[in-house]
Symmetry: C2
């Protein structure tokens, strides 16, 4: 009997962020480690607009929040981006669900800084 080919754990071949994490799609990387990848958004909404993704596939911050190691790694990645780019201030955003504006169903933190980045809802 042959074994079925094991699927790559946490890898979704139809997910563009999984493919970026795997190096199959190029990205302008600003920070990388074994658990996360941070790269510039291809359609930046601010002078600094970086996405921080966990390398494994999680649909959104709800799934990410159930995995302590990856959850911690993503916030450590946000910290690493702020340090790498010497950001004096920034806003970090996770959208969850299409109605919130989430367009790629692989959890990602937007890190934004520069003109016009003040969060529209204040506080």
């Amino acid at each position: 009997m042959t074994q079925p080919v094991p699927s790559r754990p946490h890898f979704d071949p139809d997910c563009p962020f999984c493919r970026i994490a795997a190096g199959e799609i190029p990205a302008d990387v600003v920070y990388s480690d074994e658990q996360v990848l941070a790269f510039r958004d291809i359609a930046p909404k601010a002078p600094v607009h970086v996405l921080v993704i966990p390398r494994p596939h999680f649909a959104d911050v709800r799934e990410l929040g159930a995995d302590p190691e990856s959850a911690a790694a993503v916030l450590a990645g946000v910290r690493a981006v702020a340090e790498a780019l010497a950001l004096p201030y920034f806003t970090t955003v996770f959208n969850t669900g299409a109605a919130s504006g989430q367009t790629v169903l692989h959890a990602h933190a937007h890190v934004l800084s520069g003109n016009g980045v003040m969060w529209a809802h204040g506080q």
Copy 2:
């Protein structure tokens, strides 16, 4: 010789969120565990506007990102809030630095849902 009174670890008596976590200031709590507290914002900017804070004091998400246990606990708290309030979609925001709109220097995630919560910068 008398010992100095030990300061409460990670507690800043001048920090309103430390005092909420300690029960010294009341709050409309929607989720609580040993590591985090989630309560409704007193000046909500959306139909659902909850703040998730780590119980220990961290100034912002940069400091939080350096502490894996608390970082993971805050994102688990975001997940718990979404579940407790049965949010079909939501946006999670951490502001860092006064220029980003951060007004309380104790790390906190805004969890927002409802009309007008679409993140202004899209995506």
